[in-house]
């Protein structure tokens, strides 16, 4: 699922779509009208976003309505945490190493 999400957001157009449907539900036609590209191209992007769990699809009569799934992004948010976790691990390592050197120097 993570790979799907990352693949989904790696494309700038799909990130734009995600922003469009962040706070409101829009039909595929309304979404398409924001872009110069063809409707089938937009449909393909929407399909990928839905499969990645980043947006929800709701059918109403003949319309297909799309809206962002905020919880879909929570998983992605974990990546930022991973970034800091990784970096702080390195900071810990560097600072402790320096401190040990200082302490050893004081004992000599």
């Amino acid at each position: 699922m993570l790979d799907l999400k990352l693949h989904a957001i790696s494309q700038p157009r799909r990130r734009e779509i995600l922003r469009l449907v962040r706070d409101r539900e829009l039909s595929s036609g309304e979404i398409s009208s924001h872009f110069e590209v063809s409707r089938p191209a937009v449909s393909q992007h929407l399909k990928i976003l839905v499969e990645a769990g980043l947006i929800d699809l709701r059918r109403q009569g003949t319309s297909r309505l799309y809206r962002a799934r905020p919880e879909g992004l929570n998983e992605i948010r974990a990546y930022l945490e991973a970034f800091w976790e990784d970096r702080l691990g390195e900071l810990k390592h560097a600072a402790e190493e320096e401190y040990r050197r200082v302490e050893d120097g004081n004992r000599d």
Binding site: L2, K5, L6, I9, S10, P12, R15, L18, R19, R22, D23, L54, A68, P70, E71, L73, N74, I76, R77, Y79, L80, E81, A82, F83, W84, E85, D86, R87, L88, G89, E90, L91, K92, H93, A94, A95, E96, E98, Y99, V102
Partner: protein
């Protein structure tokens, strides 16, 4: 749309076996900063001074220092250089506090002000780190951090 507070804050804590006075320079000196984050940094640690870290040769974090209180606290803003990153320079805020903890230090990091819609684009740059994290969680060695080389 859910609660904002759940998704716009990232918090981390780490215990370090060194006193705050040893750790603090790693937060404000470019040469020490690049030992744990980035390959290049420009830091002017005073309120309004520049905070700039070239994280991996492609993603460059930029902001400015807001508060510098040696050896316990530093606050700087954080965003990315360039157009269309979704998080312009200075858009979010990182606060790091160093609290004495026995012989060592409890470091707390709070990254706030991350708007929901940028988390996706933000994450794009973190794929590399995600892969490393996945490797670790599966018990594999992530290897040297090529982004930081």
């Amino acid at each position: 749309m859910g609660t904002v507070t759940e998704t716009d804050v990232v918090e981390q804590e780490v215990r370090i076996a060194a006193p705050p006075g040893v750790i603090f320079p790693y937060l404000i000196e470019a040469e020490r900063m690049t030992r744990w984050m980035g390959i290049e940094a420009k830091l002017d640690p005073r309120p309004g001074g520049v905070f700039w870290v070239n994280v991996n040769g492609r993603d460059k974090a930029r902001g400015e220092f807001i508060e510098v209180v040696p050896p316990n606290r530093v606050i700087f803003t954080w965003g990315w250089d360039g157009e269309g990153t979704g998080l312009p320079p200075g858009a979010s805020t990182v606060e790091i506090t160093l609290q004495p903890d026995g012989q060592g230090t409890l470091l707390r990091l709070r990254h706030t002000g991350l708007p929901k819609e940028v988390q996706a684009s933000h994450a794009e740059g973190w794929v590399h780190y995600a892969e490393r994290l996945a490797a670790v969680s599966e018990g594999r060695d992530p290897g040297k951090d090529s982004y930081a080389m």
